[in-house]
Symmetry: C2
């Protein structure tokens, strides 16, 4: 997705240890028009990949919410965001899976209410980053726990050098990314289109 | 906003102690089309209230992100979400303010990077709920700390019986809400339009 790649080239900063700072349009500040375009691009690429009949988008709070919302908008389906802390409105008997915490270190629990994820659902996972793949694996676990069908995975930025794509191969679904970071060395951030489907 | 009020009437549940369960379209699952309509309605009502020249929308993670994103989309401006845990990409020297935690009890710190909030900014605050008003007061504090101008406050659902509106009167800006819960007793949830501006 050219507009996204341009934005990463302009604003992305390598903070070292594999950390890419893109908080001007992903993790802290959002560009609403760019985020809507991300959703449209996910919908387009999933269609190209033959992923159809989606009934629900699932993501994890916090940074997945914006691109998941716009993907749900493009597909015309509800969006579910797994919670990391249980709100007082969430009943017991939720599905739970463990994912790494990007802010606190260690692990954090992802929780989804069975009210909003059903065995007949055909689900795609959307998240901001695909790095180690562990958060997405936890979301896939939640989808599986409720007996729904996982149909695809979409991430805004894939850090290919962390090899999450290979780790998620066992899920046997298309994995779409809108920009691929191949390497980050000093000021040099190598970013390219994902080649798995026709790009705009 | 009629579609929202209908949704609250159909799906809202009184969990007691002033807690309204609306996690089918606000706090856990999102209806993307309804959320886009919320953003348009905020933009329309702020315009009616004479609030113009907005340069930025600010909210707090987690549940404020979706309606803030669609409001930023309607206004064509960036959206900033205050973080509750400091991501590794967030530098030191951030603005901080304390707000009540709705999931953990006690207080939580809201953090905003000075990179994305500037003295020349004209800001509106968007959040999912206006209850005690303390989270919105904390966001207003962040806006003030950076020297920006607070121009308006918008909340999706106002629980008028918690009197947050009166507590925020000192800010002297229009407060727009899309639905007002006047009371909740047993199964009876009294919800109405906010009368401060022309509604659709």
């Amino acid at each position: 997705m050219k507009a996204l790649i341009e934005r990463i080239r302009c604003e992305g900063r390598n903070l070292g240890q594999g950390i890419l700072k893109v908080d001007g349009f992903i993790n802290h500040q959002l560009d609403p028009a760019l985020t809507v375009e991300m959703g449209r691009e996910f919908a387009r690429r999933f269609a190209q990949a033959g992923v159809t009949g989606i009934t629900r988008v699932i993501t994890a709070e916090v940074s997945g919410i914006a691109p998941a919302l716009t993907t749900g908008l493009a597909l015309g389906v509800p969006v579910l965001y797994a919670r990391k802390t249980r709100p007082i409105t969430m009943a017991n008997g939720v599905y739970r899976a463990e994912a790494p915490s990007h802010t606190k270190g260690g692990m954090v629990e992802l929780m989804v209410s069975p009210e909003y994820l059903h065995p007949h659902d055909r689900v795609i996972i959307i998240d901001d980053f695909l790095a180690s793949g562990k958060t997405i694996a936890a979301l896939a676990d939640l989808v599986q726990q409720c007996g729904a069908t996982l149909c695809g995975i979409g991430c805004v930025i894939e850090k290919s050098f962390e090899e999450g794509r290979a780790r998620l191969a066992y899920l046997n679904v298309p994995i779409v990314s809108l920009a691929v970071i191949e390497s980050m060395e000093g000021d040099q951030i190598q970013v390219r289109e994902w080649e798995g489907a026709v790009s705009r």
